[in-house]
Symmetry: C2
């Protein structure tokens, strides 16, 4: 029995019949999966049948904040979404912050499960215990910002928080995202899942308090955490000041800022033009998620030139990169405009930027011509074409209709040998770290259950020189499987389940940034702090060892889902370019990650996780972790090694 | 002594010194000028010196709702702004609705007087008695919608209401407007006045009640008024349903929908493509000003094509016309996009549309070429060029820098005989009624103290066939001076001072729409209803005769202001095209308003108002109306006839 942290309820919404019901949150689910990503993956595996059409009514959209969300814990207003990804066919999991997660707890729910498909557009309005399905024909076609204004007025509750899709999601673009406030659950095409269900938006408002089991212990742990923030220069000195834009400077300096669809990394490093200093000059305010003292989010404004007036919250590093490095653009106002448009239209900035970058490479190589692009001059660096394409993608207009489902699908449509220029893993376009120069980071891209995602096992050791659990040489192969697993499990355990903001982990409040030189004991004390918060909030006796095991359990479950859908070792490799082409310039010059190196790391990684040589979890491992249902399903499918 | 309606206070804000003070509202000002336009013109005349630079620190921006604003009176959340107009040099008066006017009363003020010039950008935050000047460097460059979101967050008051300028006002475009919510104080360049003062925004919030002197009498009068609304089919049948878009159908049917800079009226009548039925199909909701049961404002959304996703509140008739008839565009989504962009950028839709229309005519005549326009193909009907120019105008970029100060200034820059194609009166671009086919309406354009404004003496008798005070032939000249004066004075008395929405007057709730056939006595009873509301709200013994006299007084004072600034009879004529070129097609074919007809009407109009033959008020008339200060000033300037 838990005594706090959780609201104790799952809200199940059936769009087909426009009915809903609440269910008790099982306490063993709380113990074994904690919340957030743990909850949504558990329900995704158990409830979504295998082999479905991700854009059909059998897919489910599942949303969960964690037990810390909505409490006084700083930086905990995060929530995980999951569905089968229409972009990859693998797990479609993405996280978002802002105020919606806390508001969902205040409304009394730990999990939303959205099922079926409405016959015509609807939105759902959840006001504490009152749930209604409202017609949304009139909202269909609205951008995400107008939509939020409109719904707040319609439900007459300015404090409601709204997660919604834009035109891209409505048109089932497989790179569409979900926007709440100005935050995105960006990747894996979850916006298209909402669109396929005729669900324009989820509006939520609540008035309840999130109970806390042991207020004194909780308050002490919280003070400890806030002190850690203060003691970590990169939190208030870096994140608060310039947000994640500093990563542009860092990746350029390391020679891993991927340039022009990964074809020119190290040769195009526009940190002076689009990096943190330049962006800081355009910053007009900082904003924060619910109850976050860091306020890393930056509002930036283009004041002059053709994009004057474009204001955007962010852009985060990855968005900045997607519309600069990836596409060869070094014009900051265009980057703001692209970010704002993606938010309005409901497009994932990363997949959008990389899909445009892919098209640009084809154009530069003569595989595409202006005849194909409807007259667009798709040379790298042409920001006007980039902006135009973003709009076309969202509406599936012109050449945008070829790109709206991501780079891999675009290649399938274009043919002509274009598929070799798709930079993806498991169908998900690569992020903004050229992992030829960061091997553990690359192994995480290759192995994580959602495809090439930078944030499921971020190797801060390689990017920022963090020394916990070990200091590493970023070019080395040895020990990287161990590091990758540690990063993946810790991220899951400390951030994605409780829930807690990833930036604090990577910025060094939980890990060790090099300049500080904390001991491993110091860091373990930090992990204990999070564990203490979880235990004191919920009244459940979580320990550091136990939550580390939760992290492992959820990661293994994600892989089991993918195994079910046909994924295995063949899907765990980097694109050919990263395997075969050494970087030609910059601080990582000469680096590539050859097939042998990848196999070496994969073998060790599988061994550590208890997967077989094909990358499938073994029965023993699944049962050990309490994932009996997964074992049963994989066995039934004949996937388990004896 | 008044006992209600008024809050009794003027708030004076000195931007130069960033100080403020409150003053008691003089009771004789309340008696003689009622409120709204009466107040702002009174203070404009008394406090702004003559011969100033309208964009210099000596100009003042004065804002006043009326005594009914913020009470339970329906349709009374209106406010008047005044300054010397930087577009015309004449009175710059414009009205706006929404929620700001009521909120200003709730904060405790009848008038805001904004003086001087801040050294760097500021906004003013008025929260009941607390007034602060806040730095706005960071807001400079924001569009009006983002700006409102930003300020609400910054002052932590979601119920604050904000009037602000966009990039156009910041750049002192003389066709810039002020936006509150999604409403505009559109015409006469008041946005540039705010810009010249380095004032980005005024944010206001209040918690007070507007007192009402005699609640029972007030409640009875209010019930009577609401019953009138119900009994008038055009209110809930027309305004509530399709807003003012119906005027497109009406003016096309009458052959007075001005086409292509007034060069093709009667030949281009796209009511089927952009009229009320087409717009109704795109309407996704209705919105209302504070405490208005009519909710005439329509939110419309472009769903497909190149402008998909553009959502706009409105467009009102005049905006619809400015971006269709005026520019020869018949593509509805472009019209929505233009309206939205003007709102965001802070541009007057009417002056913007007509200034673009002017440039288009020059282009069609070969006076401008693509060399002048920076490559823009400015043929009538080219909506892409229209949209591009709107953005360029707001930022003074490219050819937009030539147009940003309105058509007359553009002609001065272009030369080459272009001035004959400027359709303006007193520098204000013409509205969307070709008054060759509506003579009293035209006389009002010619004579009103703000230039060619359709709404200072709207001749509903000619447009809608209203029969009060008399039924008229719209092509006739006889009796039109009398009708024009009645319309101008009644509008001022019943709407612009108390304040009360003009649409209710023109839609027939106060005047008589033809289908109903009310008697004059019925209409007079309606006027009594408004008078009763004023009297019962304020405790001042207003009578119908007295408020009619207020209407006359304020109109004469407006003319006295203009006389002071050098305006006289020469400025009271229609453009040559309307004088000399008969309409070539449509239901007003053959109509023009020759010089002799204009002189005939002007002579009679001057006589009725007590102006001399040069259109200057006589001393006797000024003194009769209690405008002694005006008499003194004009005498001092040697302008008064003996």
């Amino acid at each position: 029995m838990y005594h706090g942290g959780y609201m104790g309820r799952i809200l199940r919404l059936d769009l087909t019949n426009q009915t809903y019901k609440t269910e008790a949150l099982p306490v063993e689910m709380a113990r074994n999966f904690v919340g957030g990503t743990g909850f949504v993956l558990k329900l995704l595996f158990d409830e979504v049948p295998y082999g479905i059409d991700a854009l059909g009514p059998s897919n489910k959209l599942i949303i969960a904040p964690g037990p810390l969300t909505g409490t006084e814990s700083p930086c905990s207003s995060r929530m995980a979404y999951a569905a089968q990804s229409p972009l990859t066919g693998a797990v479609g999991m993405a996280l978002s912050g802002g105020h919606f997660p806390a508001q969902m707890k205040f409304a009394g729910y730990d999990v939303l499960v959205i099922e079926g498909r409405a016959a015509s557009p609807v939105y759902v309005w959840i006001n504490d215990d009152q749930v209604s399905f409202r017609r949304a024909e009139r909202l269909w076609g609205m951008n995400t910002l107008d939509c939020q204004v409109f719904i707040k007025e319609e439900v007459r509750e300015q404090n409601a928080r709204i997660a919604c899709i834009g035109p891209a999601g409505e048109r089932l673009a497989r790179i569409a995202c979900i926007i709440n406030e100005r935050r995105a659950a960006g990747r894996k095409g979850l916006g298209a899942v909402m669109g396929s269900k005729n669900l324009k938006a989820i509006a939520i408002h609540g008035t309840q308090q999130v109970p806390v089991a042991d207020r004194q212990q909780f308050s002490d742990a919280r003070s400890g955490l806030l002190k850690l923030f203060k003691d970590t220069p990169s939190v208030y000195g870096g994140l608060s000041k310039v947000g994640t834009s500093e990563c542009i400077d860092v990746t350029c300096a390391l020679g891993i800022f991927p340039a022009m669809n990964y074809s020119r990394t190290g040769e195009f490093e526009p940190a002076d033009k689009v990096g943190s200093e330049a962006q800081f000059r355009d910053t007009i305010r900082r904003t924060a998620c619910h109850n976050c003292p860091v306020a890393c989010s930056q509002v930036r404004l283009a004041r002059d030139g053709p994009y004057a007036g474009f204001l955007t919250e962010g852009p985060e590093f990855e968005s900045s990169w997607a519309f600069s490095g990836a596409t060869g653009v070094d014009y900051l106002p265009a980057l703001y405009a692209a970010d704002r448009l993606c938010d309005e239209l409901g497009l994932d900035t990363m997949s959008t930027g990389m899909t445009i970058a892919f098209a640009m490479e084809l154009y530069e190589r003569g595989i595409l011509t202006q005849e194909d692009t409807g007259g667009l001059d798709l040379r790298f660096g042409n920001h006007e074409a980039m902006i135009r394409l973003i709009q076309q993608i969202a509406y599936r207009q012109g050449f945008g209709s070829v790109l709206a489902d991501g780079a891999r699908q675009a290649a399938a449509r274009i043919g002509r040998g274009s598929e070799k220029y798709v930079m993806h893993i498991k169908g998900l376009e690569l992020p903004g770290y050229d992992v030829r120069g960061a091997k553990a980071h690359g192994l995480s891209y290759a192995t994580t259950y959602v495809g090439a995602d930078h944030n499921r096992g971020y190797a801060a050791q390689e990017i920022f020189g963090a020394r916990i659990p070990v200091a590493v040489d970023r070019f080395a192969i040895g020990g990287k499987a161990e590091l990758c697993k540690w990063n993946q499990d810790m991220k899951m355990a400390l951030c994605d389940c409780p829930t807690f903001c990833a930036f604090l982990l990577t910025a060094g409040a939980l890990l060790d940034p090099a300049p500080q030189g904390l001991s491993q004991a110091d860091t373990e004390a930090r992990i204990v702090t999070v564990t203490d918060m979880l235990a004191s909030a919920t009244g459940l006796p979580f320990t550091p060892a136990e939550i580390a095991r939760v992290g492992e359990r959820v990661n293994v479950l994600g892989r089991a889902f993918n195994a079910r859908e046909g994924f295995n070792r063949k899907d765990d490799y980097l694109p050919d370019r990263l395997t075969n082409e050494p970087l030609k310039a910059g601080a990582s010059k000469g680096q590539r990650t050859g097939r042998k190196d990848q196999d070496y790391m994969l073998d060790r990684y599988y061994e550590l996780y208890g997967y077989d040589q094909n990358g499938i979890p073994t029965r023993k491992r699944l049962v050990d972790l309490g994932l009996d249902n997964a074992a049963k399903v994989l066995e039934h499918m004949g996937l388990l090694s004896p």
